[in-house]
Structures are given as C-alpha cells and as structure tokens.
C-alpha cells in the first residue's frame, strides 16, 4: 500500500506509472518494483527532481533495460526491448551500464535511458 498522500508526490508517482504503462504497451515488460522484476525487462527507478515550470515540476527518470546475464544473448535481448520502447520513451540516448540492486549486487548488463518528464502540479 502506498504511503503517498501529498498531491505533488502523487502526481510524480502517477507519471512514473504512466511511463511504465507506455513501455509495456510498446511490448516491453516493465515495472517500477524491483521485488517483482524479472530480466530481460525494463525497470523505472526513482526520479531526480531537476526543476520545473511556473505551475509544474520536472523530473529525470532513469529507466534501465536489464539483461538476465552477461552473455551476448542477454545484450541482444535488451537491444530488442529498447528498440520496442524507443518511441514511447521520447529519448534517444541509451548508455550501456550495469544495473545494481540489493538482489543483484554484482550488477547485470543494462541500457540506461534518462527520461525527462514535466508534471502539472
């Protein structure tokens, strides 16, 4: 159950959910909950607040397309997923990196895309 009650926080959470749905609709498995994350898939991670407009705020959302292992087949899988989600993201910069989480402390190969979203608030 979400602890979010503040309208600004709720608007950000809603925008993150919209991003997850858009990536899923493009044919790429996606979540923002690392507890049920099963690579190859995309994961939407906590945003940075980077500014805003007169009546809104702007966040940068890191989205990782994560391979299940370090083999070339894993890279090809996430290239395929990124290709599907490419237009939904509205961003053309994807950086190869490692996705590290408490469940995967050694890291897994990933593409990192930073998505800028401005939210009315």
């Amino acid at each position: 159950m979400s602890v979010v009650q503040n309208p600004i926080a709720a608007a950000v959470i809603s925008a993150l959910d919209d991003l997850v749905f858009a990536i899923q609709a493009a044919g790429c498995p996606c979540t923002r909950n690392d507890q049920d994350f099963q690579p190859p898939a995309a994961i939407v991670t906590p945003p940075s607040f980077v500014g805003g407009t007169l009546a809104g705020l702007t966040v940068n959302v890191p989205v990782y397309f994560v391979a299940p292992d370090t083999g070339m087949a894993g890279w090809e899988q996430i290239m395929e997923l990124y290709g599907r989600a490419y237009h939904a993201l509205g961003s053309r910069d994807a950086v190869s990196t490692l996705w590290v989480s408490p469940l995967n402390p050694d890291g897994l190969p990933a593409y990192l895309v930073s998505v800028t979203i401005t939210i009315e608030g």
């Binding site: 500014g51 407009t53 007169l54 009546a55 053309r92 401005t118 608030g121």
Partner: protein, 149 residues
C-alpha cells in the same frame, strides 16, 4: 526591512480575455523586462545642459516547453494570435499577493529543435504601456510606514 528572497512557483500565467487561459505549466521561466531608451535633450539658451529624455518600455519574456502536439497548447495559441494584443495576468507565486496584469502583443516563438529531448524556447511579448503591479512588495511600499507589519 527584513531580508526577502522571492522565488517563483507555483504560480500562474493567464493569457487572453478574462479570465484567460492558464499556461503556467508550460513556462519554465517568466520575467518582466524593462528597457530604457534614452536620448540627449536639446540644449537651449536657457538650459544649455538638459537632462536626457528617457522612456521605459516593458516586455513579458520567458521560456516555454514546446507543446506543438497540443492544438490547445501555448505554442499553437501564440502562432494563431501572433501580432495580436492580449490580456495577461502573471502571478509569480500563488502563495504571495504580487500579481502583474496588463496587455502584451503575442509573438509566435520557435517550434522544434533537438530530437528526442525536451525542447524549450524563449519568448518575448512587448507590453502595451506599463503593467499594473498589485499586491506583494508594491502594495507594501504604498502603505504608510506605520502600517507595515
């Protein structure tokens, strides 16, 4: 006088005939820009060194996030109303009483830019006369000193 650090947001930017349409969510910067035009006075026999003749004009300027995919967006509005005089009401911060109202001439602004990123574009709309500044610091300054809190 205590120190004050005025910052924008959350605020509103209403454009068009009252009550106007709210476009504050598109504007990442808004400012009122005064420009001073000064010309030398003409020396006369009586006043050989006249003061310069100065006039101040104002413009409502800022930066807006491109929204050309929205037919009801700010960019389309400016394109459709380019050159027209429109009312504006700018509230830099709704928690404060300072409000600027006036008329400005809408100018279309640049559309598009880099691919795959959020694009912002500067705009500049010359004001008709001097906008009316109500509330906030101006109202405080107009009060007798004894009434100040």
């Amino acid at each position: 006088m205590p120190f004050k650090d005025s910052r924008q947001g959350p605020g509103t930017l209403l454009i068009g005939t009252a009550p106007g349409t709210e476009y504050g969510f598109q504007a990442s910067a808004v400012k009122l820009v005064p420009s001073v035009d000064s010309t030398d006075g003409t020396p006369t026999l009586a006043v050989p060194e006249p003061p310069p003749q100065t006039t101040t004009t104002y413009a409502l300027e800022g930066t807006a996030i491109n929204d050309y995919t929205d037919p009801a967006g700010l960019q389309r509005y400016c394109y459709d109303h380019d050159g027209e005089e429109q009312d504006f009401v700018w509230t830099p911060n709704t928690a404060d009483a300072a409000v600027l109202t006036g008329q400005c001439t809408i100018r279309a602004f640049e559309m598009g830019g880099d691919v795959g990123v959020q694009v912002t574009t500067d705009f500049s709309w010359p004001c008709t006369g001097k906008p009316l500044w109500t509330g906030g610091a101006a109202e405080l300054a107009a009060e007798p000193a004894g009434k100040r809190k």
